[in-house]
């Protein structure tokens, strides 16, 4: 059964509702055993990376997530879920899961008219084709809310990018059975639901 990881970081119910809408019944769980046994795993999240990582560790979910990733079954990261799969984040100088080489940095613009957090609808540029993106094109817009952005080390992990101010940041990460988006696909209208639907059908 598909499982949504619950670690007190954001509205897991919104993700569950969107899953339901595309015909995927997903269970919300904070239990490492349930996470490890999932046939599909969704790792969402908003808010502070510091408390998120701490909660994951307290619940033993960090090891469960790593174990799940190693199983090779499909893993979908959303927003904070994308940031935490990297090795490190500048937010609170925190070590993360390290499933993907790279780190997160804070948006820092000299031009003060560029607002942080980056909130709203922005376009993605597809950098690398992927089965999850078969129905998505460059220029499609998704809903973002974040102040930190991912910088994966390996170019092949950057499936999509987005331009904000003078920064082109990685908005979609892909590595083996992991697919992660910086934007909230559960709040990105019909295109977001299309991606979720693709995840439902994705077999690695």
């Amino acid at each position: 059964m598909p499982v949504i990881v619950d670690y007190d970081a954001g509205n897991v119910r919104s993700v569950q509702r969107a899953c339901q809408h595309v015909g995927m019944d997903a269970e919300i769980s904070a239990d490492p055993e349930v996470v490890l046994a999932a046939d599909k795993l969704i790792f969402p999240g908003v808010g502070s990376a510091v408390s998120a990582v701490d909660t994951l560790k307290t619940r033993g979910l960090d090891e469960a997530l790593k174990g799940y990733y190693e199983s090779g079954r499909p893993l979908l990261g959303i927003c904070l879920g994308l940031q935490i799969v990297l090795e490190h984040t500048e937010e609170g100088d925190k070590d993360c899961l390290g499933l993907v080489e790279g780190a997160c940095e804070r948006f820092d613009f000299t031009d003060r008219s560029i607002k942080v957090p980056h909130i709203g609808w922005n376009e993605i540029n597809i950098e690398c084709r992927h089965p999850m993106l078969s129905e998505i094109q460059s220029g499609d817009e998704f809903y973002f809310v974040h102040s930190y952005y991912a910088r994966p080390v390996r170019e092949e992990n950057v499936l999509g990018t987005t331009d904000y101010g003078d920064i082109k940041f990685c908005s979609i990460i892909g590595k083996d059975n992991l697919f992660a988006t910086q934007f909230h696909l559960e709040k990105s209208g019909e295109l977001g639901l299309k991606l979720l639907s693709a995840f439902k059908g994705w077999s690695v």
Binding site: R13, W121, K187
Partner: protein
């Protein structure tokens, strides 16, 4: 490049849609869930619900509306009106709202902003400000004053000072609502919007006064707003969301056109 957002504001009283004119007389114009769905299908970027229910025991009706909307639309929506505690905010988030708007209660007790930002995140904490134009003075250096209770109670607080304070306390976005312009359909308060948008580093949503597409163009360019709130101009069917977006796009405003 980030798109400018068009946000529809739905005033809800006892679970029904109402649109206030200068916040005094409100008349019922339909079902909020149905309306939300209609706008979603027409390309709306975001929704705001203001619960203007008078009695506190009717609050559960709002939670029910939120729950139903969350099952119908997959764009962000926020809820405001009567939020006094973190518990109120959490209930709304749990029911399916993406963000919460604090207003009067935050003016009376500013720590509410910090408490919400800490509990649910800055990005989910929106500070809504009702603002009245006043004589520029030592007390009101910006020439604008914060009011509460739907514009009836002046608070002796300078609007620009409050916007900066709200940002400092952890608000992730600001709604700048001009009481002078609200319901007039004669255009947003451009000077007020620009003044606040230039002073803060968080997104500013312009509110009050939208009546024609030109008003949106003006506030999103000259007014430097990141988003424009619309209400009666779309509620009564004079304009459609998709029509407004197409019009703005033709004039060089970046808006989300694929949906």
């Amino acid at each position: 490049m980030l798109s400018k957002r068009i946000i529809a504001c739905l005033d809800v009283r006892d679970g029904k849609l109402a649109k206030s004119v200068k916040f005094v007389d409100t008349k019922d114009i339909g079902d909020p869930v149905e309306k939300a769905r209609e706008y979603y299908d027409d390309g709306l970027d975001e929704l705001v619900f203001y619960d203007i229910t008078a009695s506190s025991d009717a609050r559960n009706i709002m939670l029910d509306v939120v729950e139903k909307v969350a099952g119908e639309v997959y764009i962000p929506f926020s809820v405001g009106g009567g939020i006094r505690t973190v518990e109120d905010a959490n209930k709304l988030l749990w029911a399916g709202a993406e963000k919460i708007n604090v207003n009067s209660a935050a003016v009376k007790r500013p720590e509410l902003i910090a408490e919400c930002a800490h509990a649910i995140g800055n990005q989910n904490t929106v500070l809504s400000m009702d603002i009245l134009k006043v004589e520029m003075s030592r007390e009101f250096p910006s020439g604008y004053e914060v009011v509460i209770n739907g514009g009836r109670t002046p608070m002796g607080l300078d609007a620009l000072e409050w916007a900066l304070k709200g940002e400092e306390l952890g608000a992730g976005e600001l709604v700048v609502n001009s009481i002078d312009a609200d319901g007039t359909r004669e255009g947003y308060e451009i000077n007020l919007t620009r003044m606040i948008a230039e002073a803060v580093s968080i997104p500013v949503i312009a509110s009050g006064g939208a009546g024609k597409p030109e008003h949106l163009l003006e506030v999103l360019t000259e007014g430097k707003a990141d988003a424009a709130l619309v209400a009666s101009m779309v509620h009564y069917g004079d304009y459609t969301v998709s029509g407004l977006k197409a019009w703005l796009s033709e004039r060089g405003v970046k808006v989300r056109m694929r949906y």
